[in-house]
Symmetry: D2
Subunit: 443 residues, 4 copies
């Protein structure tokens, strides 16, 4: 709301519809009331509608934004704890957790797109449901809905922090991003001299890497590795390039019941308490801890850029078109792109150096494979995705993890119903106690 209020002059919103499912009704009412209070405290006359019927909200919409978690934070707890209980990283965006989030989410987003085709065929879908890149690939490439832009706040964060790391201000650096969501790389130039300062930042990252995300343990990259690249990784690359270190830290959190999911769940509980306060009509401080900072601003800015044809360069998930010639031309990539009235125009990045190229190609392959599994319910494809995902230990152990997670997420995986029944019959059960209890409670 803050983002929209701030931009009202250029983006004169008429109405806002907030949608949630039955299980989120209370949350919806709390958030909806706060949202209306925020507008009421502004000079603008905007009505916030609340509904549990998404079709009512979609009808004639101009912009649709999606951010939801099928299975709520309890599902995330499973996404993180079950892999860790097998000695593997959960990584809720591209690891075993992320793949399961996709398995749960893809059928739902497909349904939303089908509704949009019918109810608001000219609307833009701004997605920041994670795994954002894979969801955007599902929407654009699999469902054929071109008017979609995928967002993520990681590049926003980088572009805010890296100038500071060099003692510069926003606007003093030029960035060129390319790769995949939570797996992108970037080159940096001084905006006043044109000089490539990518390696200068690498050196600064050894002192204090402010560009990392709050939700990622701040382990230092290896300088020699950074210098081998002609670009910089993103915070999430720690899981791939510092797997050993990240594993150790996450196992500690696991033991203390302080996985990210568990922490966030507690913060959210507190946040909703605050939101209920009728005196509150701006965002509380605490939200910062929730993570996803800048997310909402990125969404507002994207809508604003489309509506006003601003040509602003943002880092978004969109159709490749050749911008990253190392990936298929019709794959979804996360790249610097100009946002105009007719969509995102990606800036061509050119070939990546081999070692960067290879990892990006592998991750895109993993994405395509798990998306196929999600949309068809093909168990073998899901296993195949697990067996090539660098965050999963490969072998029988990967299959055991897959099977246990299928059983754990049974409620939200109708496309795998038959397979899950078979697994249960074979006696597959959830080992991690916390996760198992959630299952037992029907969560």
């Amino acid at each position: 709301m803050q983002g929209f209020i701030k931009r009202y002059n250029t983006l004169p919103i008429r109405e806002i519809w907030l949608v949630d499912i039955e299980d989120g009704k209370e949350k919806l009412e709390i958030v909806g009331a706060l949202a209306q209070r925020m507008w009421d405290a502004s000079p603008y006359d905007v009505k916030v509608h609340l509904t549990l019927d998404r079709r009512e909200a979609l009808k004639d919409a101009d912009f649709v934004t999606t951010q939801f978690r099928v299975g709520l934070l309890n599902a995330r707890i499973k996404d993180e704890r079950i892999p860790l209980s097998h000695g593997m990283l959960g990584q809720e965006t591209n690891g075993a957790g992320g793949m399961f989030k996709l398995l749960r989410t893809a059928p739902v987003i497909k349904g939303i797109v089908e509704d949009m085709k019918e109810l608001c065929p000219n609307a833009w879908l701004i997605n920041f449901t994670n795994p954002s890149g894979m969801i955007t690939e599902t929407v654009i490439r699999q469902c054929g809905w071109k008017r979609c832009i995928g967002l993520c706040n990681v590049p926003v964060n980088i572009m805010l922090q890296e100038p500071a790391m060099l003692g510069l201000k926003e606007g003093d650096l030029n960035f060129e991003f390319a790769g995949l969501n939570h797996f992108h790389f970037h080159r940096v130039y001084n905006a006043h001299t044109g000089e490539n300062v990518t390696h200068q930042i690498a050196y600064k990252m050894m002192e204090d890497d402010k560009s990392n995300m709050q939700n990622i343990q701040n382990e230092k990259f290896l300088l020699d590795h950074l210098l081998a690249m002609d670009c910089l990784p993103c915070g999430y690359h720690r899981y791939y390039y510092l797997t050993d270190e990240m594993m150790k830290k996450e196992l500690e959190d696991f033991a203390k019941h302080e996985t990210r999911a568990e922490s966030v769940k507690e913060v959210e509980r507190q946040l909703f308490e605050l939101y209920k306060d009728p005196a509150l009509h701006e965002m509380p401080e605490l939200l910062g801890k929730r993570g996803g900072k800048y997310y909402s601003d990125a969404a507002c800015e994207t809508i604003n850029a489309i509506y006003n044809n601003s040509g602003k360069v943002m880092v978004v998930s969109t159709e490749n078109r050749g911008a990253l010639p190392d990936l298929p031309e019709d794959a979804i990539v996360e790249v610097s792109a100009r946002i105009t009235r007719h969509g995102a125009e990606p800036l061509a990045f050119g070939h990546m150096e081999p070692a960067v190229r290879g990892m990006v190609q592998l991750m895109k392959a993993m994405e395509e494979t798990i998306i196929e599994a999600a949309l068809t319910g093909n168990y073998n494809k899901a296993l195949e995705a697990f067996e090539i995902n660098p965050l999963v230990k490969h072998g029988k152990c990967a299959q055991e993890l897959l099977d246990e997670m299928l059983v754990a997420h049974k409620k939200y995986l109708p496309q795998f119903a038959e397979k899950i029944a078979e697994l249960e019959a074979k006696g597959v059960t959830v080992q991690d106690e916390t996760a198992r209890k959630l299952c037992e409670q029907g969560l």
Copy 2:
């Protein structure tokens, strides 16, 4: 000068060096004096230096712009008249004439780049010497000088005129360009609604195609052909898609000694008379007739965009990087690109529809082939380029044309000296009387 004066606030030029060769000394002095008068009439204290020694001018330059014609307008007369005397289009940019312009120019630009490597290694080379795309390919891909941007005023003209054709103003349309210099295509969108209006413009082109260039006969494209494309051609495509009509018109001009070269030569003569007038300190009206309108403004704007890191989207010749995935990733293409302090960032265009793709691929092949001939003096490669160029009639007649043009341009083709001697020994002579006389006068 007007362009620089207008932009002085953001682009605080200190000195300008104008360079010409010995043969252009008088022209240099006339133009140089006028240039200085223009600055003197401005509030700014800028010194215009004149020199016949390009190394003196290059020393420590920040920006170098090149626009020259090896052999002057007399060479262009040969480029146009000799092909026409064989019943073929000369087309001084991509046809037989253009290929010969490249053969004469490539060795010279190579020398300039070598000087720049030594004397101003951080300078940007803004080229608008024609054939602009092929020269840029020579500079970047063959000579390895990356800090180069190739310019052309055709897209500028299109972006100014097409809004008017729809009754709109500049800024009301979004453009996406891709292709090669003088062989680019574009898609157009309404900047307020996002609607693709490419075909709307096609219909308007049937009434009055204001987007065409002054120097190209204004023959109407075939509507049904335009509607088969998912983009629009540029003015020069008339030579390829309306070859028959263009041929007839050019043959008429040929007969009347009103080829473009001959007309321009007369206009230039008049222009230089005007330039001499010490009272003149702004551009005379007549310059409009010369063609190349907006050229100088495009150059100033590019320099300004680089210097100020403006991110302005311009249509330039630059490295492909995948922006046009139907062409090699390291080929030079003419595309919409953001201009920043570290160069041009091309906007990815994606695959072209087959018929457009095929022509662009053929023309790039022709460019690569004639460039190889230009830099190595390989006669067979020159012939091969002639035999695939769509503006040349294929067969023995193409070879006869090539041979005659080699003899006619002997003075400026040292790399073919041996072959030309052999041709002369075999009795190859220039048939067109006008062209032959120029040769006889050592021009």
Copy 3:
């Protein structure tokens, strides 16, 4: 039949079904009777069935071969004479004539494939209906029938004649072919030394080019052009590289009513007289004049290679798979390929040199465009194909030719019925007298 009789030991045929349409009934009976006489004169007991119902023939077939001409030789007369009457090459495979042959044939082959899906889903379709490459592209890429191989006798001829040109025997040279049907290139190596002898053959072609086809005027290629290539063209490239010379010769034939179509029609008439002779039970000498020599042998050999998994290397139209990386991976190309029980395995050729690459890319683009027109009845796409085909003069004249040919072939172009009616209403008529008379006779 000769080909099958010769191979009976390895290819034990049980029955042969010959199919024709009602108009070909008499031909079918004459040819069928001769075919049965040939088998009867052999030691083998094979029954030749004749039918006008293709579904009867297709039922449970193992191999289907297609060679037909929609509209018979009268249509070819129009394909050749109408373009020539406009001063353009007809070129009944890839020129205006070839494009029209495709427009007439694509819907018919599509119907055959649909019948095959139903009646003989495991059969192989061996196509030598021209334009063979485009028909194969239609079958495999558009209709999705993968078990198809396209044949042409041009490479067979080259591989027989080029050894002789160097004073060598069959088997003394290795060939690598790649490109498109009637538009392929090849490299040649000495099979005993590994030496690349491509240019040696180029020199020999200046003396006597035995590798040319009987149906193509034997104009000499330009040696300097051949030497610029790193491969050799095929006979049909004369139309593209010696357009001027070929035009002149064809115009002479046109004037004398000796176009290829008219000559062949006369030869066929004589042949069928001979075929009727009950004493005849082998192929008559005269067939050589008909052209298409080796065609039948190539077909038998392909079937034999598939049936016996021979791995024989043949030059066929098949899916690219990357063999020619300059064309789309799923395009149909004509390449050297191993023929096995599971189909054609193309031999990777690698990148072509630019000038060769550009022409092949253009022709593939032309093929894709006219195929789209053929299958959708999209007039604009047909025009677009005409405006990029190098054998057509570009401009309004191309459209006039297209329109006249549409009207001339009305009977066989149901997909363009509406457009043709519109053209007739506008008064478009066939100008060439011979062609017009055929139309008036309902042929």
Copy 4:
């Protein structure tokens, strides 16, 4: 020698030169004497020359075969034991061990190629020095020596065993291979019916995978994973798809001092005892245990195929040319190829399915990166290769492993001399006792 004796009729060898380095003098003499005895026992008069001067041997050679191990089996012991001592797979072909083998070997093979350019410019280099694919890439792509074919016995083994697994004989199946050395995939067809039997073999692999190599632990692949693929992996893929299981087994061997290197060293010792026996003039049984079975036969067969232009289809490392369109066109790939007098003609494989494609692309990237390190001595690039190699644990631990291995292999890594000195100064030492002792003995 057996392979050559067997093929003498078609491959009439005149002389054979065996070369070794000073350290291998005794081995050379033993093997050389045995080799001569084998020829003497044959009907053919062939002289086996022995030399420590490779230039003497290379002079005027027709075929050069290379199989050597820089640092002998002691280096392999380090390649395997040091990674295992860090809890990682050594994998002496593509893992940490294989990367180090490349680092030691690339400079040596480069020197050999330089000698060949001078001494036998028309010779063919048949390489089976491991890592065979990377060495071939170094020779062809980096050193520019095109007349090179890389060999491996893994595909030979597969093509011998898989028919047996289906109860068929050699020749009953058709194979299509593509990928990289020790990282290739294949599709299988019934040679009599054309049927794709790839998945049938997958099922049989669950019973008894005879296609695996003797030197690889026979852990079973996961059936569900195999069925997700449209092709089959090779034995080495166990390291990538069953990492967990392979790790456990190798750690057991490590503890028992039965790593492959240690076992082979013992077998070799015994073999050389046998070889010394003047009565021995054929290969002893024991050689089978050495592994590398069929290697020598593959080499003889390749030479024979080249010499006789046989067109035999073999699986070799050669230039891609587009055969595997998912990898760069000029990369070295291991594919089915026809072997002719002018080299290997790869069979186009087409796109791989995503999950297979991604892994192959990653491994090629790893290869390119470590090759760059090997030829330039760039430490950062070596680290980068370690950090993306799926067999290495990523993070600081990878760097520690790299550093320790650099120190351990110091003697054979002149290109890293400076860096190694720096590491030693920092106190980096070899931890594994066995490996350290070898170092201390100067081995």
